[in-house]
């Protein structure tokens, strides 16, 4: 059974958690990110390969203490200005960063999903990422003597993804560009999935990824929950929203107005006064 998004976030995401909201341009869990802002969560370690505008918003709202990432930008537009403001001027709070390459992050999730302590890859060699990130080390292959990079497994407390649909049993189906979502979900302690719709039965789709209900803690039905990114087969990317964000993100005051509108006049701490139902596996 599906759970309202505010209850699912309230149950699964806590102050200080390591939270991955993954999506590679497609199926970005934007609505869930906004709910995290509304609930006023703090001191999060946010993880994502490609933090874009919803991470800019989370950072600007002061939800994050640290960002673990490999490419931070507004795709097709430019920079993330709330992210820049946090990194260069500690506004609204200081933001620690841990920076990888895509290959490194992808392999960290794979190791996390596989129950291994670290991942091995041919990468990073000669780059300045090595000296600036203590989590990138060198390892010697015990069979060939080759020097390779080692990066620690990534195991988020919570992974949040958006998918096209789930069935009534809580099995989740996504397709199109599925990025790193399966690995990010399998690596996490808790998994929240927002979906466009719940259907009786999942009809197979070419290129699909199905996450069995037993690895999903909560499903929330949020039509349009990936907008302004897109949901393949449901709606297109709203490119103008990404362009429009640039002006809002550049200016603390404009951002403040945006934030006030998102959180409402009642402020961020009043959104969950009820005692929500427990959220079970395969809910």
């Amino acid at each position: 059974m599906a759970v309202p998004l505010n209850e699912a976030v309230g149950q699964l995401v806590h102050d200080g958690d390591t939270v991955a909201l993954e999506g590679f341009t497609h199926l970005i869990p934007v609505a869930a990110g906004h709910e995290i802002i509304r609930q006023g969560l703090r001191d999060l370690t946010l993880v994502r390969m490609t933090p874009d505008i919803v991470y800019d918003q989370l950072i600007g709202a002061g939800c994050a203490r640290k960002l673990v990432f490999s490419w931070g930008g507004n795709p097709g537009v430019g920079s993330l200005h709330r992210f820049r403001d946090a990194v260069t001027r500690s506004w609204p709070v200081p933001l620690e960063i841990e920076e990888h390459s895509h290959a490194g992050m992808a392999n960290r999730y794979v190791a996390g999903a596989s129950g291994l302590p670290f991942a091995v890859l041919r990468g990073y060699s000669g780059t300045d990422l090595v000296g600036n990130n203590p989590h990138i080390k060198t390892i010697t292959c015990p069979f060939t003597g080759q020097e390779l990079a080692a990066v620690p497994a990534l195991n988020p407390d919570v992974t949040i993804i958006h998918a096209q649909r789930a069935d009534t049993a809580g099995n989740v189906q996504l397709w199109g560009i599925t990025g790193i979502q399966k690995e990010a979900a399998m690596a996490a302690d808790r998994v929240l999935v927002t979906v466009e719709e719940v259907v009786e039965e999942l009809e197979p789709v070419p290129g699909q990824v199905v996450l069995p209900a037993r690895v999903v803690d909560a499903v929330s039905v949020v039509p349009g929950g990936a907008a302004p990114s897109y949901a393949h087969g449901y709606y297109e990317r709203d490119n103008s929203a990404y362009k429009d964000w640039d002006a809002v993100g550049r200016d603390r005051e404009a951002f403040g107005a945006w934030l006030a509108e998102l959180t409402g006049s009642t402020g961020p701490d009043t959104s969950s006064t009820s005692d929500p139902e427990p959220v079970g596996k395969g809910a």
């Binding site: 820049r84 895509h102 990422l129």
Partner: protein, 253 residues
């Protein structure tokens, strides 16, 4: 004296497109590289196999994608694979002929910075970061870079090595265990640079029509070496320009 009927960006993109050979597998960065690769696939290289890091293999978009994860890439790809698969099975395993990258900053030895301007811990400008570039630069058989020429972009030494070009000179790539040849050509809006076969230092080997060697040297932040007789870039053909303009027209919605 004839007036130019194309812009400096257009000759840059067309020249970059010509660097791609038909049938190559090409790991395509978004922005200028993607535009150039799509020009190539519509002109002399119909069998260019374009890979985007979102996992879309053999994409043939009918318009320019606006991001590496644009839906048009998934719809037109031979197959869509996961991100670990594109980086591990395709890139790391050495299956990609050419990596086609852009950059914010590049240095005398073709090392690329897309991370920070200034000090890492107290940056003047925070850039997007590495993305797929470090491993693209490491593992593709060769790398081609396309970027606009300026003294801010072409610096003696990059502030941060995000992706290794030729390190500090000859032998560095081998020492670092990097399997690919690294940057073999840098195409700008002024001309073409290639690493010297011995010293690995980027050398001006071609200038676009209407550009003088002195212009390129003035736009470069180090004492740029110039080949003995730099080529004059052939002008873009009418067909190339019409393909390019139809693409960029659709991208500017």
């Amino acid at each position: 004296m004839t007036t130019l009927t194309w812009t400096s960006d257009e000759i840059m993109t067309v020249t970059a497109a010509r660097s791609l050979r038909d049938g190559m597998s090409c790991f395509v960065g978004i922005g200028l590289p993607s535009t150039a690769a799509n020009v190539a696939s519509r002109t002399h290289a119909p069998d260019l196999w374009m890979i985007y890091e979102s996992g879309t293999l053999g994409a043939s978009p009918d318009r320019l994608p606006l991001s590496i994860g644009d839906g048009i890439l998934a719809e037109t790809a031979d197959t869509v694979v996961s991100v670990p698969e594109v980086f591990n099975y395709w890139l790391q395993a050495g299956r990609i002929d050419v990596g086609f990258l852009g950059a914010a900053q590049i240095d005398r030895y073709g090392n690329i910075n897309t991370t920070v301007i200034g000090d890492y811990d107290d940056p003047k400008v925070r850039l997007p970061g590495a993305g797929g570039a470090p491993e693209i630069a490491a593992s593709c058989r060769e790398v081609i870079v396309i970027m606009r020429h300026s003294r801010r972009a072409f610096v003696d030494k990059v502030d941060f090595i995000t992706s290794v070009g030729h390190g500090a000179g000859p032998g560095d790539r081998e020492r670092l265990g990097l399997t690919g040849a690294g940057p073999v050509r840098i195409i700008t809006d002024l001309g073409v640079l290639e690493p010297d076969p011995i010293t690995r230092e980027l050398t001006l080997v071609g200038v676009h029509p209407g550009v003088e060697v002195a212009d390129v040297r003035a736009a470069t932040g180090w004492d740029l070496r110039v080949a003995e007789d730099p080529r004059r870039t052939p002008e873009p053909s009418g067909a190339e320009l019409s393909v390019l303009r139809s693409l960029t027209g659709t991208a500017r919605t």
